[in-house]
């Protein structure tokens, strides 16, 4: 076993060395921190060059059997990825390793992102039929399978490894064939099953305020935020979703919480999922639907209905790369303009975007607040990078979370019920079925002001269009202003949104260390913009907007404020890197 382990280690090290020379490659692989004799586990430490801190704990563990898992688990930080060879978790092996119950089943790995892959049998099948390959060769080849999986996961070119194998096993063609087959099988497994890239985030360099912490990735934080919103509003939560990488994880996460009053439905498609969330919203529930790009296309019509009905609803888009199917496991921010404009007719709604994994909690909570308070669908834009990155997150105290009053309507004696009357915020009453005296009908046809009856009247349509827009625009009065991290004399503002916050902060930090004077800010509200946005933009000579798209936020800012913001566009399916930000800043000084 040790032999197998060290062969793999060689391979990894070799690969690491080779790849470290590739200019654009973000990850580095080091030799294992230490393996115990008799245990074929190996550790690989990936760390972005940008954020390399010596002595970091490993954040990926590939455990080929229970013993390996047991030996190494204690070194792993929470939120790390654990890939196990499921086949090796037999009763016998578990006993040998001293496990009383199977750690894969008993919840003891709940702090980690576990991928169970039957590597032994998959490798055996891959190697099947290769002439002269012995069972032993096949057995060993599973490490190459694992290497294949990792190569896929971290998106490395495979030719380097293959060449290395060819050299290494030049004199043993059967072994070569077996290893190649296993490696390819592992790689294909990653691609075919849309195995998700994981990204590691460094803790912010600032001092950590006192409090209780845990590690969360964006998906977990979203799920917690939604449940918290449900508790603090008293509205039972329904998530209706159709599986799609990478948004499926939220469905998986929430589906485990039936005992907390969370209902999840795997709908027949994304249209149905949106419809179910809206139907639940009509019934006075917290209706949520989550998807990724292609699914958003399909939800557009239903979201438009929610705009017309003026009912609360949350739509989560975990953005992924590319038009059409694109690159499902890669990250991007290219759904912003679709979120804002991707429906026919004038159908405005709020759009918000968290910028850190932990921030997903607050964003989900805020999405519910806005939805409930303004009776409107809200789109929350996450992305692949956010969803799967982890960071330490300060656990909020429940009583400190604001409580939300759904303020359901109830009948007032002698008063006619007007489903489209409005409060100060221009929000209409939420009168849920079951409330005596408020039976009413709503629909997607244009509604007469106040009564909500069908109306084709010209002036009414103009008025309703205005009201719907004004209601959303009015949110700007209640959201926090854009907060700028500036220095005296800064003339350049780096303005980002979404998951680029970490990279922007780090890049700005380094630029400052290099002597540049520069400001930065991150937008969490994409529609409406914070009220001070125009002032902020006008107070700098230059504004740089880095985005993982072709300049979508930039377009909105330019149109609205007529400021000649500059774009740094990265459309590679990869997050923005701090080094890139630093470079872009330097270039502008």
């Amino acid at each position: 076993m040790q032999l197998a382990g060290s062969r793999f280690t060689d391979a990894t090290a070799m690969l690491g060395n080779d790849l470290a020379t590739l200019p654009n490659f973000p990850a580095e692989i080091r030799a294992p921190a230490g393996t115990l004799a008799g245990v074929s586990a190996f550790q690989i430490h990936f760390a972005s060059r940008d954020i390399l801190t010596p002595g970091d704990q490993p954040n990926v563990l590939v455990a080929m059997n229970p013993a390996a898992l047991k030996t190494n688990l204690s070194e792993l930080p929470r939120g790390a990825m654990v890939i196990v060879n499921e086949d090796a978790f037999s009763k016998r092996n578990l006993e040998k390793a001293g496990y009383a119950s199977n750690p894969l089943e008993d919840g003891s790995l709940s702090a980690f992102r576990v991928h169970r892959i039957p590597m032994t049998s998959l490798t055996a099948r891959a190697v099947e039929g290769i002439e002269d390959a012995s069972t032993r060769d096949a057995g060993r080849a599973k490490n190459l399978f694992a290497l294949g999986v990792l190569s896929w996961l971290y998106g490395r070119p495979t030719d380097v490894t293959k060449q290395w194998m060819q050299k290494k096993f030049a004199d043993r063609p059967a072994v070569l064939m077996a290893n190649l087959a296993a490696f390819n099988a592992g790689w294909s497994f990653g691609e075919t099953t849309e195995l998700l890239d994981v990204q590691y985030r460094v803790k912010p360099a600032t001092d950590v305020p006192p409090g209780t912490y845990r590690n969360v990735n964006g998906t977990t934080a979203l799920s917690l935020g939604l449940i918290a919103a449900s508790v603090r509003s008293g509205l039972p939560l329904l998530l209706a979703s159709y599986p799609i990488t990478p948004a499926s994880e939220l469905l998986h996460a929430l589906s485990r919480h039936a005992s907390l009053g969370v209902t999840t439905i795997q709908a027949e498609d994304e249209i149905a999922a949106a419809g179910m969330a809206l139907g639940a919203a009509f019934g006075g529930r917290l209706g949520v639907t989550a998807t990724s790009g292609p699914g958003m296309d399909l939800k557009a019509e239903t979201i438009g209905l929610a705009v017309a009905l003026e009912l609360p609803m949350i739509i989560i888009d975990v953005q992924r790369a590319g038009p059409s199917t694109g690159m499902p496991t890669k990250t991007e921010q290219s759904d912003l303009l679709m979120a804002i404009h991707g429906r026919h007719g004038e159908s405005p709604l709020p759009v918000i975007a968290p910028s850190t994994p932990g921030g997903c909690f607050a964003a989900a909570f805020e999405a519910a607040e806005l939805a409930i308070r303004y009776r409107t669908p809200v789109i929350l834009l996450s992305d692949t990078f956010l969803a799967s990155s982890s960071e330490p997150w300060q656990v909020p105290m429940v009583p400190e979370l604001p409580s939300m009053d759904p303020a359901f309507a109830s009948a007032a004696e002698g008063e006619e019920f007007l489903p489209y009357a409005r409060d100060d915020r221009l929000a209409r009453p939420w009168a849920v079925p079951g409330t005596p005296g408020l039976a009413h009908r709503i629909g997607g046809l244009e509604k007469a002001d106040l009564t909500g009856n069908i109306s084709y009247e010209a002036a009414n349509h103009a008025r309703m269009t205005e009201l719907r827009a004004a209601k959303v625009e009015r949110i700007a009065e209640e959201i926090p202003p854009l907060r700028v991290d500036s220095e005296p004399g800064a003339r350049l503002l780096v303005l980002g949104w979404g998951s680029s916050e970490g990279a922007i902060r780090a890049g700005v930090q380094r630029a400052r260390e290099a002597g540049h004077v520069v400001a930065c800010a991150q937008m969490h509200h994409l529609n409406p913009f914070p009220a001070n946005t125009g002032d902020v933009l006008h107070s700098f000579d230059r504004v740089l907007v880095p985005e993982m798209n072709t300049g979508q936020l930039a377009q909105l800012l330019r149109a609205r404020y007529l400021v000649d913001v500059e774009s740094f566009c990265k459309v590679q399916g990869q997050p923005v890197f701090a080094a890139e930000i630093e470079e872009e800043i330097a270039r502008r000084q």
């Binding site: 209780t212 039976a439 009908r441």
Partner: protein
């Protein structure tokens, strides 16, 4: 006149004041064409509703787009006029989170079988506790006369000037193929039959599909004349009655029997004897016979079965899992947020 309707989110109505048809009439002017079959269905539904013993505010009508979709506006209950084809999805979301409501979907043949086909079949297989009234006029009414998925072959419509080339769906057999637990067919003009079927649908726990043949006098007048007109209806209505042999005709002279090759066939009772007729049993789990009955007529211009094809029990969607409707308590939330691996700083 107050059958007890139990289960299935239909409330108990115990102690509620007695309701009348008028309680279910909204203040909106009905806007169908004069003579439209929709009026008759509306009247029958409004008249039937009090029987449920459920107060109007506990009843919800969710409709799609089409003439039929206007139904929601005319019921003095909660109502949502959704978007085209998606009413079953909207209703599923509501039904799986509000088991205290009685939820009805009204849809047209285009709404439910063309654009909404997928939601329909999934709501049926899931056995979502909703009652789906499918107004089948074999045409697109609202959009002024295009073919629908139930339009007969060869029919000339606005979108098919050379005749429909698509073989039509038979909504009953589609529903049976989609695992529906309750499937029935009735006719706008036959208020009594319609009401009986509504009653059975309401009593059914789970999804009920009721196909209602509905005349569209403007774009497809007389499509169901064979089943509705005095002169022809006795000869063409094959009424399915649970526990009874399947028999019909002006003098009950015809019936349905199984032919030697195993298929159902329409026979003269005189030829085969009354004992040879099949006896209808909608409660059989095996939908095979119901399916065969559905296939007796391709188009309602020939003898066509009406009534309840299938009515069986199966776990109701959202009711089989241990559900909890209330959100977590603050203590539970605090525990959840903390997780199992937190640490404290400072």
């Amino acid at each position: 006149m107050s059958a007890v309707v139990t289960g299935n989110g239909n409330g108990d109505g115990g102690g509620a004041p007695v309701l009348t048809k008028a309680d279910f009439q909204s203040d909106q002017e009905t806007r169908w064409c004069p003579g439209c079959g929709d009026y008759a269905v509306l009247a029958a539904v409004q008249q039937f509703m009090p029987e449920l013993g459920i107060p109007p505010e506990k009843i919800v009508f969710i409709t799609g787009i089409g003439c039929a979709g206007r139904f929601a506006y005319y019921m003095n209950t909660y109502g949502m006029h959704g978007i085209h084809g998606r009413a079953p999805a909207l209703a599923t979301g509501l039904a799986s989170t509000r088991d205290d409501l009685s939820i009805w979907v009204v849809t047209g043949d285009g709404d439910s079988l063309s654009i909404g086909g997928n939601h329909l079949i999934h709501a049926l297989r899931r056995n979502v506790p909703i009652k789906i009234l499918l107004f089948n006029n074999q045409i697109y009414g609202l959009t002024k006369g295009q073919a629908s998925p139930t339009s007969e072959l060869g029919k000339v419509t606005k979108s098919t000037p050379f005749g429909v080339a698509d073989h039509p769906f038979n909504p009953v057999s589609l529903a049976l193929g989609a695992e529906a637990t309750f499937v029935a067919r009735t006719i706008d003009r036959d208020k009594r039959h319609l009401s009986e079927v509504l009653r059975a649908a309401a009593t059914h726990e789970g999804a009920a599909l009721v196909e209602i043949y509905q005349n569209c006098p403007v774009f497809n007048d007389g499509a169901f004349a064979a089943l509705t007109e005095k002169e022809t209806k006795d000869a063409n209505q094959i009424r399915l009655v649970a526990g009874e042999p399947v028999r019909f005709g002006v003098d009950n002279e015809r019936g349905v029997a199984r032919a030697a090759d195993g298929h159902l066939a329409i026979v003269d009772v005189a030829d085969v004897g009354a004992d040879a007729l099949i006896v209808h049993d909608p409660h059989r789990l095996d939908p095979g016979l119901a399916f065969s009955l559905a296939r007796l007529a391709d188009n309602p211009t020939v003898p066509t079965p009406i009534g309840i094809f299938r009515d069986v029990q199966r776990p109701v969607y959202g009711r089989s899992l241990p559900t909890r409707t209330a959100p977590a308590t603050e203590v539970e939330l605090a525990e959840l947020l903390l997780g199992s691996d937190s640490w404290t700083v400072g």
